[in-house]
Amino acid sequence: MKYFFTIFIILLIQLSAAKYGVVVTSQKSEVEIPTLRQLRDVFLMKRHYVGDTKVLPINMLLASTLRQRFEKNVLKISRERLNKYWIKQHFQGISPPITQASARSVKLFIKNVEGAIGYLPLSLVDDDMRVLYEF
């Protein structure tokens, strides 16, 4: 009984960790820790630098639950309003951040591309990554 209870607790912790998101960059990257506003501006393509470092934001696919959580807690904007925002930006010649199909490909992108910033489930963060913001 004790054995099953321990497994249940471990599973529960892992499940909650999978829902817990972090904004990360590569350990090699010189990106300073951004404020929440800077982070929002970066993912809305209003700001292309954090401090002296050029940054490249990476999104997950539209259907991703982590992306929905990121939009709610970091961008603090509804999907409908975000869609309206990007349509207006299209007229200004600005496209949304590039997307990657999975959290693992986001991770790979961040490790290989200088200045890349993305969000991942906490469970995928390793020693090669630096956490910039938790959400």
């Binding site: 404020t35 292309h48 954090v50 409908e80 349509i87 299209h90 007229f91 010649g93 496209s95």
Partner: protein, 328 residues
């Protein structure tokens, strides 16, 4: 015929684009995204019954390097118009250079935009096309108070120590790239604008500067703007004052324009809009109060069907306008 060819071209692109969402353009290459828009309107007043295919435009943009990007936009407006009361019609099928510029992102605090671009003043001027507006008509402030376009250099970025404040310092000391396609013809234009984004819902700012028109009138302008957005209700307002110094006649005069617009979203697709405007011009002795009440239907955001009635203090100018516009 050319219009239908453009539509055919756009639809062919869209059909070949795979995943395409209206209003977001088509990515044809890593360095090229294309889009376009058109608008049609129908206006009825005491003197006119006018049907227009107003804007027909194509735009292309992309990143050449991580720091360098470009945008080009060609537009014909009004592409075709027919006045049923006067029984006249007119065409302008020449595609004008509305925007042609390069953008260089140097740092958080300093970026450079060189070429013909929208003048970075206020809100209305930055989203001038029918489909992005909430009314078919434009307030007089947007066309009478400063040149809509700048053919020159804009230095812009975030102000140091103010995380939410952006600035623009813009300058022009030459003629417009497409001189026939600008509201105020000028060869000298300089200005500074500041904008504070207090939150996504509340923003305010202002600008000042000067321009010299072709007929040698030096105008100093000052302008303020603010907008506030609640979940279903939004307000937007701009005020501008011009001091005009005529070098030929040495007469000095003032021009003033302001508007306050509110927009109420009944549901995701339906909205009501109201606007009050005031315009006063010493030189021409024109003073006008304008009230507008309108309805907007957007089945999806980049498709807009609008209708409005305009009351003017000069009743002869009262009019009904309806429009249909799409952004590709």
């Amino acid at each position: 015929m050319r219009f239908f060819l453009i539509l055919f071209f756009i639809f062919t692109l869209l059909a070949n684009a795979g995943h395409y969402e209206l209003g977001h353009g088509v990515k044809l290459h890593e360095k090229l995204r294309v889009g376009g828009y058109f608008s049609t309107d129908y206006e009825v007043s005491e003197t006119k019954r006018l049907a227009r295919l107003d804007d027909v435009a194509v735009l292309a943009y992309g990143n050449l390097t991580p720091e360098l990007s470009y945008l080009t936009e060609l537009e014909a407006a009004p592409y075709f118009q027919r006045d049923f009361r006067a029984n006249t019609q007119a065409y302008d099928r020449h595609f004008h250079k509305e925007r042609v510029y390069l953008d260089y992102q140097y740092s958080e605090m300093a970026n450079f935009r060189l070429g013909k671009q929208i003048t970075p003043i206020g809100y209305w001027n930055l989203e001038p096309i029918n489909v992005l507006r909430e009314t078919s008509s434009n307030p007089l402030l947007s066309s009478k108070m400063f040149p809509k376009f700048l053919t020159g250099l804009d230095i812009y970025g975030y102000l140091p120590w103010f995380n939410s404040v952006t600035y623009h310092i813009f300058m022009q000391n030459n003629r417009d790239i497409d001189k026939e396609y600008i509201n105020i013809k000028n060869e000298h234009f300089f200005g500074i604008s500041l904008e504070n984004e207090d939150s996504m819902d509340f923003q305010y700012g202002g600008s000042f500067g000067e321009f010299i028109t072709e007929d040698r009138k030096r105008t100093h302008f000052a302008q303020l703007n603010a907008k506030y957005e609640l979940s279903n209700l939004s307000f937007q307002s701009e005020v501008a004052l011009n001091h005009i110094d005529n070098h030929v006649t040495t007469i000095k005069s003032y021009k003033f324009a302001a508007y306050l617009q509110s927009h109420y979203r009944i549901s995701a697709k339906h909205a009501l809009v109201g606007r009050y405007e005031y315009f006063n011009d010493d030189t021409t002795n024109i003073s006008n109060h304008i009230g507008i009440f309108g309805y907007s239907y957007r089945p999806i955001y980049p498709v807009s069907l609008k209708a409005e009635y305009q009351w003017n203090s000069d009743e002869k100018l009262n009019k009904f306008i309806t429009s249909f516009s799409v952004l590709f």
